[in-house]
C-alpha cells in the first residue's frame, strides 16, 4: 500500500509570551515528529495532555504553520505552500473536532452545515449538494428529515455524527479526529466509534485518530504512535503496542490502564512527576527524568545523549535501553 501521509521531522514552535526579565523563549509543542499513514489505515496518536497532539492535527489541516520539517500528502509537499497552494489539499484532509457543541455553527441548519464544504470547494450543483448532504445524513445514522433543524436540537452524539458527515461531504482521503468522542457519554462513544469504523470501510478513508483513551485507540486503530513532549517515542502495530510495548513510557501508559485480565504478576509501572515543560525539554532522552528504566542504562547516557532509533519488524522506538536487556514488562 502506498503512503498517504508522510510527516518527517515536523516541528511547531510557539513564541512564549514575553515575561519580564526573562529571555524570549519558544514552546516546542511539536519537535521532530515522524508519522506515516497509509491509505485506508487508521493511526492512533496517543500521549499525555500537552504532548502536542492537537498541534499536529491543526498543522495538518493548515490552521497552524509548521516551523520546520515536511508534510507530504500523496507525495506532494505541503509545508511552505501559501493559502492558494494549500487549498486543493484542504478538501482531501478533513477534521472532526473534539467539541461537537463548539464545532457546529449554532445559527446554521444541519443542511447548510453539510453543504458548506461542497460550496467552498465548488463541488456539484446546488441541488445535488443538498441530495448528497441528505445521503450522508442517512449514512451517519440520522434521519434526513431533520435536515432543517439546528444543531442545538440534537444530542452530543448526534452532533458529532453531523460533524463526521460534514467531513465526509467532500470525499476526503484522510480524516483527522481530534479526540472525537472524549466529550461524549460512554455509551454514545461506542456508537460513534462503530460509525467511524463502518464509514472507513465504506469510503476507504484513512484516520489520524487522536485520543488519550487507550481503549478507544485499541478498538479502532491498526497502528499507534506514542507522543511524549512533542516527539514520537514509539510507533508500532496495535497488537505490539498493547501486548509488547517496547519504550518504557509506552509500558507505563499501558500499565496505567486498569485491566482485569492482566495478572497481578505485572504490577503497574507508575510514572512519577509531571511532564516537564515543553519550553525547556530535558537534554538527552526527554523522558529520562521520569523513566523507570533509566538506572539500567550505563553511564547515565539517558541524560546526555539523544536515544537511538531502534526498529524491530514494523515497530520503531527511541530508547537507550538495548532490546531484551530489560525485564519484560
Amino acid at each position: 500500500m502506498s503512503a498517504l501521509l508522510e510527516i518527517r521531522d515536523l516541528a511547531v514552535h510557539f513564541p512564549r509570551p514575553r515575561r519580564w526579565r526573562e529571555p524570549p523563549a519558544v514552546v516546542r509543542a511539536v519537535d521532530g515528529v515522524d508519522l506515516d499513514l497509509r491509505r485506508g489505515e487508521s493511526l492512533g496518536l496517543v500521549g499525555e495532555s500537552g504532548s502536542g497532539k492537537s498541534t499536529i492535527a491543526r498543522t495538518l489541516v493548515g490552521l497552524q504553520r509548521a516551523t520546520a520539517g515536511s508534510i507530504r500528502l500523496d507525495g506532494s509537499e505541503l509545508t511552505g505552500l501559501d493559502a492558494r497552494g494549500w487549498f486543493p489539499f484542504r478538501r482531501r484532509v478533513q477534521m472532526v473536532f473534539q467539541d461537537p457543541y463548539g464545532s457546529l455553527d449554532p445559527r446554521q441548519t444541519v443542511l447548510s452545515i453539510l453543504t458548506e464544504p461542497m460550496e467552498i470547494h465548488a463541488l456539484r450543483k446546488p441541488r445535488e449538494r443538498r441530495l448528497h448532504a441528505l445521503e450522508l445524513l442517512e449514512a451517519v445514522g440520522l434521519n434526513p428529515h431533520y435536515a432543517n433543524r439546528y444543531p442545538h436540537e440534537f444530542s452530543g452524539g448526534q452532533r458529532q455524527r453531523i460533524a463526521i458527515a460534514r467531513a465526509l461531504t467532500v470525499h476526503p482521503e484522510l480524516v483527522i479526529c481530534d479526540e472525537p468522542v472524549s466529550a461524549l457519554d460512554v455509551s454514545v462513544q461506542a456508537q460513534v466509534l462503530n460509525l467511524l469504523r463502518e464509514l472507513q470501510e465504506r469510503y476507504d478513508i484513512a484516520y489520524l485518530f487522536i485520543s488519550h483513551d487507550l481503549a478507544v485507540v485499541r478498538s479502532l486503530c491498526q497502528r499507534v504512535s506514542v507522543l511524549y513532549l512533542g516527539r514520537v517515542v514509539e510507533s508500532a502495530p496495535r497488537d505490539e503496542i498493547f501486548e509488547a510495548p517496547r519504550h518504557p513510557y509506552t509500558q507505563a501508559l499501558i500499565a496505567a490502564v486498569p485491566d482485569p485480565t492482566r495478572a497481578a504478576a505485572h504490577p503497574p509501572v507508575l510514572l512519577e512527576g509531571e511532564p516537564p515543560s515543553p519550553t525547556r525539554p530535558p537534554p538527552g532522552c526527554r523522558f529520562h527524568p521520569r523513566c523507570p528504566a533509566r538506572a539500567l542504562v550505563p553511564d547515565d547516557r539517558c541524560a546526555r545523549e539523544e536515544p537511538p532509533l531502534r526498529t524491530d519488524g514494523a515497530a520503531r522506538w527511541t530508547c537507550h535501553l538495548e532490546p531484551g536487556s530489560a525485564p519484560e514488562a
Binding site: V61, G62, L63, W86, F87, R90, R91, Q94, M95, F97, Q98, D99, Y101, G102, S103, L104, D105, P106, R107, Q108, T109, L111, S112, E116, P117, I120, H121, R130, L131, L134, E135, E138, G141, L142, N143, P144, H145, Y146, A147, N148, Y150, H152, S155, G156, G157, Q158, R161, A163, R166, V170, E179, S182, A183, L184, D185, S187, V188, Q191, H212, D213
Partner: protein, 369 residues
C-alpha cells in the same frame, strides 16, 4: 438529553436508502434566514410592534399632507385648551410657511394639502399648549425630528460602529489595539460638554449659516458618539467568534475570509447588533430630548419631542392642571419606545434558533471536554 440516533428514525430500524433518496428529493432546504423570518411572523408582539411603528413612521413622513393646524401659530390670549371640540375648524391659520423651512418634498406635500383641504383643518383633538399651539400637530411635526435623530443614530451605529468594530476584531493585533484606544478616548469625552463646546466653537459660523446647519451639527455629534458602543460590542463578539471552533472548522475547510464573515460572523453578530440598536435608539431619543430641553439641541420654532417635554414641564403648575400638555407627548414617546423595544426583542428571539431561555439547554461538557 442523550437520546441517540436510531430512535430519531421514524419507526423502522434501518431506512431503505432508495426511500430516503426519494424522500430527500422532497425535503426542501429552509435556511437560517427563512426560518428566522417565519419565527418573527409567529410572534404576535413583534407583529403588532411592527404595525405600530409602520403607522408611526408613515404618519410622521406624511405630516405635511395632513390638515393639521400650524404647529407654530400662536394664540397668546387664551389659556391652554383641553382636548375638546370643535372637531373641524374652518379658516384657521392653515400652514404658515414663513415660520418653517421646508424641504422641496415637504413643500410639495403642503401644496397638495392646500389643494385637497383648502382652509379646512382639524380641531384641537389633543388640546393646545400654553401658547395656544395645537398639540397633535406639534407631536406629529416633532416626531419627524425624533425620527431623523433615530435614523442618524442607527445609520452611524450600523455603518461606522459595526464596520469599525468588525474590522478591528478581524485584523487583531496592533491595529486592533490602536483602533480601540481611539474609541476609549472618544468614550471618555462627556457628551454634553462636547456638544456645548462644539456649538460654542462654531457659533459665529453657525449664525451666518442659519438654523438648519446648527441642527446638522447636532445630528453629526449624535452620530459621532452612538457608534462607539456598537464598535466595542461588535469587536468583542468578533474576537470571540474568530476563535470559535466552528470558525476554525470553516477555515480548515478552506473558507475565505469573506465566506467566514458572511456565512458565520454576520448571522452570529446580528442579534447582538439588533439588541444594541434597540438600546441605542431610545437612549439617543432621550439625549435629544435632554439637550433640546437644555436649549442645546433643536431650536424653536422647530419642534421635537424633547422640546415638547420641556413645554410640558413648564405647564406643570399648582393652580391649573394642564395635564394634556404633559401626557400626550409622553404617551407618544413612550409607546414608540415600547414598540421599538418589543420589536427588537422579537427580532432577537427570531434570530436565535434556541429561542428564549436558550442558554440553559447546553448540557455541561462531559468528562475530558
Amino acid at each position: 438529553m442523550i437520546t441517540d440516533q436510531r430512535e430519531m428514525r421514524s419507526g423502522e430500524d434501518r431506512l431503505d436508502p432508495a426511500q430516503v433518496l426519494a424522500d430527500a428529493r422532497r425535503i426542501r432546504g429552509a435556511g437560517h434566514w427563512r426560518r428566522a423570518r417565519a419565527r418573527l411572523r409567529e410572534s404576535r408582539t413583534a407583529r403588532w410592534s411592527q404595525r405600530f411603528l409602520a403607522v408611526a413612521v408613515l404618519l410622521s413622513l406624511l405630516t405635511p399632507l395632513l390638515p393639521l393646524p400650524s404647529p407654530t401659530a400662536l394664540d397668546l390670549r387664551a389659556l391652554p385648551r383641553p382636548p375638546v371640540g370643535p372637531w373641524v375648524q374652518i379658516g384657521g391659520n392653515g400652514f404658515r410657511r414663513e415660520y418653517w423651512e421646508l424641504s422641496a418634498v415637504d413643500s410639495a406635500l403642503v401644496d397638495v394639502r392646500e389643494a385637497l383641504f383648502g382652509r379646512w383643518q382639524t380641531g384641537p383633538y389633543l388640546g393646545t399648549d400654553s401658547k395656544g399651539r395645537d398639540l397633535l400637530s406639534r407631536i406629529l411635526w416633532g416626531s419627524r425630528t425624533s425620527l431623523l435623530v433615530a435614523l442618524a443614530a442607527t445609520a452611524c451605529s450600523l455603518l461606522i460602529g459595526v464596520t469599525y468594530g468588525a474590522f478591528a476584531g478581524l485584523i487583531g493585533g496592533r491595529t486592533d489595539r490602536l483602533m480601540m484606544r481611539l474609541v476609549d478616548v472618544l468614550y471618555s469625552l462627556p457628551f454634553v460638554f462636547l456638544v456645548i463646546f462644539v456649538l460654542a466653537l462654531l457659533d459665529a459660523w453657525l449664525d451666518e449659516a442659519g438654523g438648519a446647519s446648527r441642527e446638522l451639527v447636532f445630528y453629526a455629534l449624535v452620530g459621532a458618539v452612538t457608534w462607539l458602543t456598537m464598535a466595542r460590542v461588535v469587536r468583542g463578539q468578533v474576537l470571540a467568534l474568530k476563535n470559535a471552533e466552528f470558525v476554525q472548522a470553516a477555515r480548515a475547510m478552506g473558507a475565505s475570509t469573506s465566506h467566514i464573515v458572511f456565512r458565520h460572523l454576520v448571522p452570529n453578530l446580528l442579534s447582538v447588533v439588533i439588541v444594541y440598536l434597540t438600546l441605542t435608539i431610545p437612549s439617543i431619543l432621550l439625549v435629544e430630548a435632554f439637550l433640546s430641553f437644555l436649549g442645546l439641541g433643536i431650536q424653536p420654532p422647530r419642534v421635537s419631542w424633547g422640546l415638547l417635554a420641556a413645554d410640558g414641564v413648564e405647564a406643570i403648575n399648582p393652580l391649573h392642571s394642564f395635564w394634556w400638555i404633559v401626557v400626550w407627548p409622553a404617551v407618544a414617546m413612550g409607546s414608540t419606545l415600547l414598540a421599538l423595544n418589543l420589536l427588537g426583542d422579537g427580532v432577537r428571539d427570531a434570530l436565535d434558533p434556541r429561542g428564549r431561555a436558550a442558554d440553559t439547554d447546553r448540557p455541561a461538557p462531559g468528562p475530558g471536554a
